[in-house]
C-alpha cells in the first residue's frame, strides 16, 4: 500500500489508484473535465495537471498512478499557470452564454474560471461558430459551441450503458461530438450524460429552462421504480410560481453509491420524478358519496374506514376481510400492516402483491424486471407465517366473486407507473374496497374510499433491494396536498379502530437489521 503526500497531507491508498483519486480521498479537489470516477481516465482535457517531485514536467493526476513516497503539489505557481492556460484554451471559442445556459450554477467551466482563471482575454480573433440547439434525441439537446470535447458522454455509453452511441468526429479544432450518422440518441440511460457533462453542451430537454439550479432545494431518497433501489437526489422547489401554494419537483438525479447504482440511474427512474406532482396524484382523502368520490377530510374517511372494517369483522369474522399490500410500500408500512391487520385484527387473507411480469425488461446495468422497490423487504418481514400467504390473484378473485366482503389495498401497483394504460388487476366487487395509495388508477372507480399516501420521496422508510441491501431513507420533502405517510394513515386507522398499536415497533433501526448500505 503506497503512502503518498499531497499538499503536505499524507495518505495511504491501495496501489493502482491514480493521483486524482487519492486527492479526492483527502478532500483535495484537483480540477478536471474529462476525468469522472465512474469512467476510464481519458487524460485528454489536461486540466488536472499537478507537480510531482522528481518529474520535471507537470503530470495529469488522472492518469498518473500513485507510488510509495510520491510527493504531489496541486497548488504551486506552475500548476495554477497550467490551469489558467487550459481554461483560456477552452474559453477562447466558448460562447460564454452563462446567463442563458441551463448548466449555469453547476458548470465546471464556470466554476473553474471563477476559481482559477479570472484573466482578461487576449483573444482578438473571431469565435468559431458551431451547431446550437442540436436535438440529439428525444431527451437530449446539444450545444456544440459549449462542448469541451471531454468525451465523458462517449465513454459513458461505451463503458456503462454498453452501446456506442456517441463519437467525436473530425479532428483538431473541427472535432465535434455527435451520434453516428443517421442515428437518433436513444438509450435507457441517456439522462446520465447530462449529469456528467461538465459544461452546458448536453442539456436535458425535460429540465431545460424550467428552473435555475441555484433556486432548487435538494433532498435524498431511493428510487422507487424498480428493485435496484438507485440512490437519488430530489431537486425541488418548496414554492413555485406555477403551483403557488405547493412545492414542485423538477428532477431526480443519481446519488453515488458504489454498492447499488455507482453514479448512475436509468431514465425511467429519472423521469419518474413526474409522478410526484402528477395530475393523477391523489391530493385529498376521497369518500364515495352517491356515484362520485368526493373529497372529505381525513377524520371522516378514517372514521368511515374503521367503521366498515369493524362491521365486516363483526358479520363475517377475519376471513371476510382481505389485505393486499403492493411491494411499493416501505418496510415500516409493512410492519405496521402486520401489527394492525394480522396480529391485532387476526386477518389471514393477506397478500404481498402480484408476481413480477416475466416479460418485463431487465438488463445488466441497473434496470430490474421487478418494478417494485421493496418485494424483498416484504418477503423478509413476512406478513403472515411462511406458506400461509394468499396469492394476490386468488385474493383479487375472492374479492371480485364476493368471498371477501372488504378488501384493503395498500400501495400502488408497481406496473402502473411504467404502463399507465395497463388494466387494473382489481376488478369490481360487491363489497367494500378501500385503497390507500398515491396515484389514481382504474380500480378507483370500484373503491368506496381512497386514502392519499405519500410517495417514497415524501416519507421516511426503508426498502430492501433485490440483492437484499437494506436502504433507509428520510423524507426528502413534504407530501403533496393532504397526503400522509403510509404509517401515519395506519396509525390513525388503528386509533379509530381502538386497537392498541405500537408505532415505535415500526421503526427499523440498527438493531432490527444492520443496514448493509445506508443512504
Amino acid at each position: 500500500m503506497p503512502t503518498i503526500e499531497i499538499d503536505g497531507k499524507i495518505i495511504t491508498v491501495e496501489s493502482g489508484l491514480n493521483v486524482i483519486q487519492a486527492a479526492d480521498r483527502l478532500g483535495i479537489h484537483i480540477p478536471r473535465f474529462c476525468y469522472h470516477p465512474g469512467l476510464s481516465a481519458a487524460g485528454s482535457c489536461r486540466m488536472c495537471m499537478v507537480e510531482i517531485e522528481k518529474i520535471p514536467k507537470l503530470q495529469t493526476a488522472c492518469t498518473t498512478p500513485v507510488h510509495d513516497g510520491m510527493v504531489v503539489r496541486t497548488d504551486t505557481e506552475a500548476v495554477q499557470d497550467a490551469r489558467r492556460s487550459i481554461l483560456e484554451y477552452l474559453l477562447i471559442n466558448h460562447p460564454i452564454d452563462c446567463p442563458i445556459c441551463d448548466k449555469s450554477g453547476e458548470c465546471l467551466l464556470q466554476d473553474y474560471y471563477t476559481d482559477y482563471a479570472r484573466y482578461t482575454s487576449r483573444f482578438l480573433e473571431t469565435r468559431w461558430r458551431k451547431r446550437k440547439v442540436f436535438i440529439l434525441g428525444p431527451t437530449i439537446v446539444m450545444d456544440e459551441e459549449r462542448c469541451v470535447l471531454c468525451s465523458r458522454c462517449v465513454r459513458f455509453f461505451e463503458e456503462v450503458s454498453g452501446v456506442r452511441r456517441l463519437g467525436i468526429f473530425q479532428r483538431g479544432a473541427e472535432a465535434y461530438l455527435s451520434t453516428y450518422p443517421g442515428e437518433v440518441l436513444q438509450d435507457r440511460y441517456c439522462g446520465n450524460i447530462v449529469d456528467i457533462c461538465p459544461v452546458g453542451a448536453l442539456t436535458d430537454r425535460d429540465f431545460r429552462f424550467n428552473q435555475r439550479v441555484w433556486m432548487l432545494k435538494q433532498g435524498h431518497s431511493v428510487c422507487p421504480y424498480c428493485a435496484r433501489g438507485c440512490n437519488i437526489i430530489v431537486d425541488f422547489n418548496e414554492k413555485s410560481d406555477i403551483q403557488v401554494n405547493d412545492r414542485r419537483v423538477y428532477r431526480f438525479r443519481p446519488r453515488p453509491n458504489p454498492m447499488v447504482n455507482r453514479y448512475w440511474m436509468c431514465d425511467v427512474g429519472r423521469y419518474g420524478y413526474k409522478h410526484l406532482d402528477a395530475a393523477e396524484r391523489i391530493r385529498e382523502p376521497l369518500l364515495r358519496e352517491g356515484k362520485r368520490l368526493t373529497p372529505v377530510g381525513w377524520d371522516r374517511v378514517i372514521k368511515r374506514a374503521a367503521l366498515r372494517i369493524r362491521e365486516t369483522l363483526a358479520s363475517t369474522g377475519p376471513k371476510g376481510v382481505g389485505v393486499l399490500v403492493h411491494p411499493t410500500v416501505s418496510c415500516e408500512t409493512t410492519l405496521a400492516v402486520r401489527e394492525l391487520f394480522v396480529e391485532q385484527l387476526k386477518i389471514r387473507n393477506v397478500s404481498t402483491g402480484f408476481p413480477v411480469d416475466p416479460a418485463g425488461f431487465e438488463d445488466e446495468v441497473l434496470i430490474r424486471r421487478d418494478s417494485a422497490p421493496n418485494r424483498r423487504g416484504l418477503e423478509m418481514i413476512g406478513l403472515v407465517p411462511k406458506g400461509e400467504e394468499v396469492p394476490a390473484e386468488k385474493l383479487a378473485a375472492d374479492w371480485a366473486e364476493g368471498r371477501i366482503q372488504l378488501l384493503y389495498v395498500l400501495g400502488d401497483d408497481p406496473v402502473r407507473f411504467q404502463h399507465p394504460e395497463a388494466p387494473s388487476p382489481i376488478r369490481a366487487g360487491e363489497g367494500i374496497l378501500i385503497l390507500q395509495k398515491t396515484t389514481a388508477g382504474p380500480e378507483d372507480e370500484h373503491a368506496r374510499m381512497v386514502l392519499p399516501a405519500a410517495m417514497p420521496a415524501e416519507e421516511d422508510g426503508t426498502f430492501v433491494n433485490f440483492e437484499g441491501r437494506v436502504q433507509h431513507f428520510d423524507a426528502a420533502l413534504a407530501p403533496l396536498g393532504e397526503a400522509l405517510p403510509a404509517c401515519e394513515i395506519l396509525q390513525r386507522l388503528g386509533e379509530a379502530l381502538k386497537v392498541e398499536i405500537h408505532p415505535e415497533c415500526w421503526r427499523l433501526g440498527q438493531e432490527t437489521w444492520a443496514p448493509s448500505s445506508s443512504s
Partner: protein
C-alpha cells in the same frame, strides 16, 4: 556520396526485387542469425551498434527492444512505422520503393529479436508505389521461405500484414498508429502504459521506423562495432537526409551521422539557389525548431542539434534562403499542425488553431505589438502539456521562428517581409474571458 550503406542498391535496375537484393548479399544476415543466434544476441549486437530510432525521437533501438517483457504470456507485436508524413521528409518512401527487401529483412530480424510472430507494416495511404512494392516483396519473401511458418527451417515463424493509413499525420505517432491498426480513430494514447508493455491489442509492442529497421541486416552482417564506427560517439550508422527548399539539388542523401550542416548544403545539395545567403534551416522536418543563419555551423546528429535547441528529427532538412517570409513559412507549418491535430487534448486542439488565427491576422496586416509574445506564450503552454508530441511539434517552430525573426511578426514597417504599415488592431483592450 560517402559510406553508402542504406542506399547501396538504389538506382540498380529492378532494385526492388528479391533477385537484386539477394545478389547484393540480401537475406544473408537472416540465414546467419536464424541458424545460430539467440534473440538476445541480436538485441545485444544492435545495442552495440548505437543505432538510434530514425523516426524522429532518436531513442536507442536496442534499449527500446529491451523494454519488451520477456515473461509476458501475451503475443508480442512489431509494428513498422511507414507512415512517413513529416513535411520535408521522404526517406522511408524511397526505401520501400527502391529496396523494400532491406526493410523486410530488418523487420524479420527485429521481430525475431523481440520474440514477435506477427508484424504489421503501417504504410502511409498516399504511398501507392511504395505500398505495391512492399506487398510484392512480402509475397516474394513468403515464396522463398523468408516469411511464414518455420522460416529457413529454423523453427521461427513470422507473418507480416500491411495496413494502410488514411491520410492522417498523427497516425505516425506510435500509439495513434496502434489505434489505427486496431481499426480505431487515430488518437494517441495516454502513456503510461507504454507500447512495450501494453501496445497493439493490449500486448507488448515495438514500433520502429522503416529506416531504423533497414539498418538492422547490415548491423548483424558486419557487426555493431562497424556500424557504430560509421557515426558519432553516441549515434551509429549513416543517416538518410532529405534536403528540400532553396537548394540547387534537393533530394535524398545518405551521409554520415554528424556531418556539418553547411557541408551538406554546399557540397551535396549544390548550394542555395540563385547564390543567395541562407536565412534559416529547419534541420529535421517541420516539427523541428528553425536554426537562424548564425547557428548553421553545426553537426547533424541527435545530440548536437538537441543541445542547440532543435532536433535531428527525421532528417528532413528544409533550407530557407534570404527573401523568404518567415511569417508565411510559419503560417504554412502551423496550418499543417492545426489541420493534423487529432483534437483529443485541449492545448493542441485549441492552441494550434489559435496560433493560425493570429498568424493569419498578422498576414492580413492587422497584427498588434503584443502578438509575438502571445504566440510564444501559447506555444509554451502547449509544449509538454499534451497527450502526444504533436503539441510540442507545433510549439517548437512557433517559439523558434517568432523569437529568432521577431521583426517579421510585428506590425511595424521596415522588417524584411513583415506586414508593412499594418493597421493596428483596435481591440487591444481585451474582453473578459
Amino acid at each position: 556520396m560517402e559510406k553508402v550503406v542504406l542506399t547501396r542498391n538504389f538506382g540498380k535496375p529492378d532494385s526492388h526485387t528479391l533477385a537484386v537484393y539477394e545478389a547484393g548479399g540480401g537475406y544473408q544476415s537472416l540465414r546467419k542469425v536464424l541458424a545460430s543466434w539467440t534473440p538476445q544476441q541480436v538485441v545485444e549486437e544492435v545495442k552495440a551498434s548505437n543505432l538510434r530510432g530514425r523516426g524522429g525521437a532518436g531513442f536507442p533501438t536496442g534499449i527500446k527492444w529491451g523494454f519488451v517483457p520477456k515473461d509476458s504470456p501475451k503475443p508480442k507485436y512489431l509494428c513498422v512505422n511507414a507512415d512517413e508524413g513529416e513535411p520535408g521528409t521522404f526517406k522511408d518512401r524511397h526505401i520501400m520503393e527502391q529496396d523494400p527487401h532491406m526493410m523486410l529483412e530488418g523487420t524479420i530480424l527485429s521481430a525475431y529479436a523481440i520474440g514477435s510472430q506477427t508484424a504489421y507494416i503501417y504504410i502511409r495511404g498516399e504511398f501507392v508505389l511504395a505500398g505495391a512494392r512492399t506487398e510484392a516483396a512480402i509475397a516474394e519473401a513468403y515464396a522463398k521461405g523468408y516469411l511464414g511458418e518455420n522460416i529457413l527451417d529454423s523453427g521461427y515463424s513470422l507473418d507480416i500484414h500491411v495496413h494502410y493509413g488514411a491520410g492522417s499525420y498523427i497516425c505516425g505517432e506510435e500509439t495513434a498508429l496502434i489505434e489505427s491498426i486496431e481499426g480505431k480513430k487515430g488518437w494517441p494514447r495516454v502513456k503510461p502504459p507504454f507500447p512495450a508493455v501494453e501496445g497493439l491489442f493490449g500486448c507488448p509492442t515495438v514500433v520502429n521506423n522503416v529506416e531504423t529497421l533497414a539498418n538492422v541486416p547490415l548491423i548483424l552482417e558486419k557487426g555493431g562495432a562497424w556500424f557504430a564506427g560509421l557515426g558519432t560517439e553516441k549515434s551509429g550508422g549513416t543517416k538518410l537526409f532529405t534536403i528540400s527548399g532553396h537548394v540547387n539539388r534537393p533530394g535524398l542523401y545518405e551521409l554520415p551521422m554528424g556531418i556539418p550542416l553547411l557541408e551538406m548544403i554546399e557540397k551535396h545539395a549544390g548550394g542555395v539557389t540563385g547564390g543567395r545567403k541562407i536565412k534559416g534551416v529547419i534541420p529535421g522536418g517541420a516539427s523541428c525548431p528553425v536554426l537562424a543563419a548564425h547557428e548553421l555551423d553545426i553537426k547533424m546528429d541527435f545530440d548536437t542539434l538537441m543541445a542547440a535547441g532543435s532536433m535531428l528529427g527525421s532528417g528532413g532538412v528544409i533550407v530557407l534562403a534570404e527573401g523568404t517570409s518567415m511569417l508565411a513559412t510559419l503560417l504554412n507549418l502551423e496550418r499543417f499542425f492545426a489541420h493534423e491535430s487529432c483534437g483529443q487534448c485541449t492545448p493542441c486542439r485549441e492552441g494550434t488553431r489559435w496560433i493560425v488565427q493570429i498568424l493569419e491576422r498578422i498576414e492580413r496586416g492587422e497584427g498588434t505589438a503584443g502578438d509575438p509574445d502571445t504566440l510564444i506564450d501559447i506555444a509554451e503552454h502547449m509544449a509538454g502539456r499534451t497527450v502526444c508530441p504533436l503539441g510540442e511539434a507545433a510549439a517548437g517552430p512557433v517559439k523558434s521562428f517568432v523569437s529568432k525573426f521577431r521583426d517579421e511578426f510585428l506590425p511595424s514597417p521596415g522588417s524584411e517581409t513583415g506586414p508593412a504599415g499594418a493597421a493596428r488592431h483596435a481591440r487591444a483592450g481585451g474582453q473578459e474571458g
